[in-house]
Symmetry: C2
Subunit: 320 residues, 2 copies
């Protein structure tokens, strides 16, 4: 089988992986389209210490099912949540798999991912894609759900002065999701070029350095690198809220004084709900396909990753 | 006038300060007793860049008043909140002076403090001390209010596995305040000696390093130094809450991965409400005087600060 793997800290396209066989309660998925996320780029740099098949944003067809699974699943076009819990611990039973200590995470932690011809996942992770949602939109379900996660964690006030630091892949989705309730959202970048698409999409934009300290009630850090925290902390007002969406390899040096003296609330934010993401995509409320910069076959994964890593580039897709 | 000042980054006792004259709306306070706090030690190390008379924990008598002040204040024994806002900005009018951008802070920012024979403060900052509260307890009003601030910011669940990292001056008050609602609070220290007083006061205790990752739902960081954040982040469970109480000079190097992936909520916490602190002191619910290690006259401030800086030492008082 063809796939894109990380081995010994190096990305490579391979074509010699063994056939994927679905286990009990699982489906065999044939990937239609997958998306490269900043977390994938960070994994290649060493984040999370992952080795195996990369990829966690995808849309696929159910080609077969393992034991104990309703065969009606076969032939359905699906997306899938990426956390697989033990299903037995108190955390799984009360809240689901996202914070199970024993969980695997698709293409991130102890489980082969979606940059491949096939993958397998429990059917409990699958969600059928409405016909109205094209593959090129459905592939954004996972990051759109991650953006929606913020709305599960905090109340986004329609009057809150709100900024997203980092107008990239995820930041752009976050900005659009936060603006849905009438909130004025300013997308902050480091270059004018990075702000063109956000402006085209109707968001306010600005250069982060041109904003005074304490300018915003709510700031979302979505730069994907360690420079973002300090800038975001500078911009949030005392008693404001700072949401962290970036996962990256490495440590940040932070002066915690403002956090304490300004009584800032910091909220880490990760995976979100798929059902509302699919609803928004079906309504075409969030024009995700404007973010697509390129598409590559699996065999050209190295070029695809290099493309995705260029400044200002947003979504690069892989098609098996 | 005698006082303890920081000048050019050095602490010294002086006796040549000019007489303090209360301005309009202010009271002239004669200090009865004052307490040294970890923030005072940090200021001497350069935190907040303060120069002037130190000290923000005190109990005093109103000796005189400035213009527009009811003379009935004269003779009252009082404590006082430490933030003085502009009184005109939206923040002051809506929420009070604690986060006014133009505020001064007693003995911390642009305003001479309480390690002196006299100080002046707006009468709106004063609160009379009930007769039942001795000077040696009243001097704890400010830090006890800071501990209570946590209960203004978050719901402290009676069933939450709760830890306070740093069983020192402030940590001990925080632990006692969090335990008031039936919550089991574990005070975590670096040495067995530091846990003797918390244990005597009826709190659970333990060595921080002996606890597994993710052991607590709620962790309060009160070490007063940069080592505390990393340890506290390690101990809080995914989706748990980490409250930061320490203010110190310098930056911390932090791996933000757990914060994001574990969706931790971090809450900076500073000054709190005086009225409930005085109620708790009047009821003798929080046995603060057990924390008093020594008392010095102002002239021996250098010895007092050296004493307060020793490991395991809690409250050192200054009596003018």
């Amino acid at each position: 089988m063809r796939a894109v793997v990380v081995r010994n800290g190096r990305l490579r396209a391979v074509n010699d992986l063994p056939e994927v066989v679905p286990q009990a309660s699982e489906a065999l998925l044939r990937v239609r389209l997958a998306g490269i996320c900043s977390t994938d780029l960070e994994i290649v740099r060493g984040y999370a210490g992952f080795e195996g098949v990369l990829g966690h944003e995808f849309v696929a067809d159910v080609e077969d099912v393992g034991g104990e699974v309703d065969p009606a699943w076969i032939g359905r076009r699906v997306v899938a949540t990426i956390n697989i819990g033990c299903g037995r611990c108190a955390e799984c039973l009360a809240n689901g798999p996202e914070h199970c200590a024993q969980r695997t995470v698709l293409g991130i932690h102890n489980r082969d991912g979606a940059f491949a011809e096939y993958l397998r996942l429990p059917v409990s992770n699958l969600m059928p894609v409405p016909e109205a949602v094209a593959d090129e939109a459905a592939v954004f379900t996972e990051p759109l759900a991650a953006a929606l996660r913020i709305r599960e964690q905090i109340a986004v006030h329609p009057t809150a002065r709100t900024a997203v630091v980092g107008p990239g892949r995820l930041g752009l989705l976050v900005g659009q999701v936060l603006a849905l309730g009438g909130t004025e959202v300013t997308m902050l970048g480091r270059s004018a070029a990075s702000l063109e698409l956000p402006r085209y999409l109707g968001l306010h934009t600005g250069l982060a350095v041109e904003y005074a300290d304490n300018s915003f009630d709510l700031v979302v850090e979505a730069t994907g690198n360690e420079s973002g925290f300090e800038q975001s902390l500078r911009l949030v007002r005392p008693q404001g809220t700072l949401v962290l969406k970036s996962t990256f390899a490495g440590a940040s040096t932070i002066d915690l004084t403002k956090l304490v003296v300004g009584e800032i609330r910091v909220v880490g934010s990760r995976c979100g709900p798929f059902a509302p993401a699919l609803r928004l995509l079906a309504e075409d409320t969030i024009p995700v396909t404007d973010s697509i910069d390129a598409e590559y076959p699996l065999a050209e994964a190295e070029q695809a990753f290099a493309h995705a890593a260029r400044p200002g580039v947003r979504k690069v897709l892989l098609r098996p």
